[in-house]
């Protein structure tokens, strides 16, 4: 029984390469995550607090952009070739986008990590949310632009495959997996326009010194125009696996093909005109626009609840076919020993919890309680950090045999690994949410303050710190087990039938879906209209307020800290030690000056 690698050897190589880049990024990013978890909880501080932001940037970019999106292009390439039952139109184009994305990734990663070496005059400590006024080295932005253009070329590759397939099958419904790929890419084209404009027209010229100033609110708004749809870009490959693979793993069939199509169309329409909900506390955007963004966001609950129903019903179908009975005891009939199934099911469960904290983030009035607190990282470690990342790891156990022709090295290690991830995330994410409710800030190397204690209603801040550090440790161990299992699988010999790769047809077939669902041009048009409605007035008002280029100079992180240290050091001789002992801020400045002198 031939599997993917036998039928499409060229495509399998591209998928393998994409997965390899994704997993390398996962390993590095997870290691930095561990260092941060131990650092900000004050368990173990192996790095300077100044370097915390370098690692935080690397953690965000490597995991949220590189790991997720490289895995995505791998899965989508697999889905296109498998779904259309034909090789990609031109494998050279496929390798071209892979090469461009990888080059861009390396450039960006070098720009970030150079911040750890003081001798190299290069840094990009701008965090994953790389809007002005924090300024990075031009290589960071240029690398990101290459990465994005690479994903555009990948989308073009898949649309060309669609055109070829359509030429041979003029009257057929688009197969479900390619339909999901194409709709996701339409959403991606619409949404990356914002970040492309921000990077190419403002941030690159600004970092090169071609323009003096930028309008920070404009680049922020353009970033978040892309910054919310990108979370669905991470989520869509997970949804693709939940809809098409998870029912099969559970022993059942997808409940409804038309419902799956409706969900993906809704994401095309609603993903982009919601970005302003990340800017609820931004001055300079009127309340009314924020309210519109909130309304659109609440509409996004609809496809998520549709997904909850369809996926759970499909899994239940599997359990019933395997002999499950009763209202809840059917859950026991599911193949929990299968790490691919158990991982995806646990990821889905965590996503349900993330959905609740997401509703809190999305509500304009409640958002004020948690904005910029540790609650927010708690939320997205449940969604992208578990719903997406754990689904991708679990999916790997089923996909890797297909693209390499090798059986997974160890199923028990795989099962242990996905469960360990779930447990680690329960500790870390739960403690982060609670810390956020106490007002502990995010993006902070040392969230401790003089003469101020966070008051905990239940338990203590010390417990919360311990839970974060312990959870972070378990998550890192889980990644180590995962990478070991993947590497050991890769090192094995090819076998004839590494995995059962068939996907059974849905219970409710695509022939029942209205034809209009496959009209991709129509949905693109409506999506563009919605974006124009939601963004024209806010952008116009931002540009009217302070101009296209604004008046904000850059704040390169390294230089401003040096200036601070110099100022503090020059102030020191004028202050007697006795006086300084009572003045906490001066202590801090003196310590900062010493550490800077040591590290440079």
């Amino acid at each position: 029984m031939a599997t993917f690698v036998d039928r499409y050897p060229d495509e399998a190589k591209v998928v393998q390469a994409s997965f390899a880049v994704a997993f390398i990024a996962l390993g590095i990013g997870a290691f930095f995550g561990l260092i941060q978890a131990l650092h900000r909880t004050n368990i173990l501080r192996v790095i300077d607090s100044v370097d915390y932001y370098t690692l935080l940037t690397a953690h965000g970019v490597l995991l949220a952009l590189v790991f997720t999106i490289f895995f995505l292009v791998g899965v989508f390439t697999w889905a296109i070739a498998k779904g259309f039952e034909r090789p990609l139109p031109d494998i050279r184009l496929t390798w071209a986008w892979f090469g461009l994305m990888t080059t861009g990734t390396v450039l960006t990663a070098v720009a970030i990590l150079a911040g750890l070496v003081p001798e190299i005059p290069m840094s990009a400590d701008v965090l994953y949310t790389f809007y002005a006024p924090l300024e990075a080295h031009p290589a960071f932005y240029i690398g990101l632009a290459m990465f994005i253009v690479g994903t555009w070329m990948a989308g073009a590759d898949w649309f060309l495959a669609y055109r070829d397939w359509r030429g041979d099958n003029p009257d057929e419904r688009i197969p479900l997996q390619p339909f999901m790929v194409l709709t996701t890419m339409i959403m991606w084209y619409v949404s990356t326009l914002g970040v492309a404009v921000a990077v190419v027209f403002f941030l690159i010229p600004w970092s090169l010194g071609l323009i003096e100033t930028v309008n920070p609110l404009l680049t922020r708004t353009l970033f978040w125009y892309f910054g919310h749809p990108v979370v669905y870009f991470w989520l869509m490959p997970a949804y693709l696996l939940w809809y098409t693979v998870l029912p099969k793993l559970a022993g059942g069939r997808l409940f409804s093909d038309p419902l799956a199509r409706v969900v993906f169309v809704l994401f095309v329409l609603l993903s982009t005109p919601v970005g302003i909900h990340h800017q609820y506390v931004d001055p300079g955007i009127a309340e009314g626009f924020k309210f519109i963004a909130m309304t659109n966001t609440m509409f996004l609950l609809l496809p998520s609840l549709l997904t909850a129903f369809t996926v759970v019903a499909s899994v239940e179908h599997g359990a019933r076919q395997r002999g499950g009975e009763g209202y809840l005891s059917w859950l026991g009939a599911l193949p929990w020993r299968d790490p691919a199934f158990a991982g995806m099911a646990l990821a889905g469960l965590m996503f349900a919890a993330g959905g609740f904290s997401g509703m809190v983030n999305a509500g304009m009035n409640i958002n004020y309680l948690v904005h910029n607190t540790l609650w927010v990282p708690g939320h997205f470690h449940m969604t992208v950090g578990t719903a997406v990342a754990l689904t991708m790891m679990a999916g790997t156990y089923w996909l890797l045999p297909q693209i390499t022709g090798k059986t997974v090295y160890s199923r028990p290690i795989g099962l242990f690994q996905v469960v360990l991830w779930f447990i680690g995330m329960v500790f870390m994410s739960n403690a982060m949410h609670r810390g956020g409710l106490l007002g502990i800030p995010r993006r902070t190397a040392e969230p401790q303050y003089q003469n101020f204690d966070f008051a905990a209603a239940v338990g203590s801040v010390g417990e919360i710190r311990m839970q974060i550090a312990f959870g972070g440790l378990l998550l890192f161990l889980s990644v180590v087990f995962f990478l070991f299992n993947v590497a050991a699988t890769w090192a094995e010999d090819r076998v004839d039938t590494p995995v059962d790769d068939t996907i059974p047809a849905p219970l409710s077939p695509p022939s029942g879906a209205p034809l209009i669902l496959d009209n991709l041009a129509l949905w693109t048009g409506i999506a563009v209209v919605l974006v124009v409605l939601a963004y024209t007035l806010p952008l116009a008002s931002i540009v009217t307020d302070s101009g296209l280029l604004g008046s904000s100079p850059g704040f390169p992180v390294a230089i401003s800290l040096e200036a601070l240290a110099e100022a503090a050091a020059s102030a020191l001789p004028h202050v007697s030690l006795d006086a300084a002992a009572g003045l906490r801020p001066l202590d801090v400045a003196a310590e900062a000056a010493e550490t800077l002198e040591v590290s440079r």
Binding site: G332, R337, A342, V419, V426, N430, V458, Q467
Partner: protein
């Protein structure tokens, strides 16, 4: 007693942890401030019950559980 597979047992163990972690929060909401050790004790109790169910399922399996896993 229903027979649990090792996989299901492991997943159920994972499920006990959020229950134990949040047990104290819920108690706190109703005005009982429990010490940290109570969380660990609660977890131990849950694990003991789960292990008991697992072992009993092994010792006295139902006749018709051959297909569940």
């Amino acid at each position: 007693m229903r027979q649990l597979s090792p996989g299901l047992f492991l997943v159920l163990v994972a499920f006990t942890i959020p229950l134990a972690v949040e047990f104290r929060t819920v108690a706190g909401f109703f005005g009982f401030d429990l010490p940290f050790i109570s969380m660990i004790l609660f977890e131990v109790v849950l694990l003991a019950i789960l292990t008991g169910v697992y072992v009993l399922g092994r010792l006295t399996p139902d006749e018709d559980t051959a297909t569940t896993s």
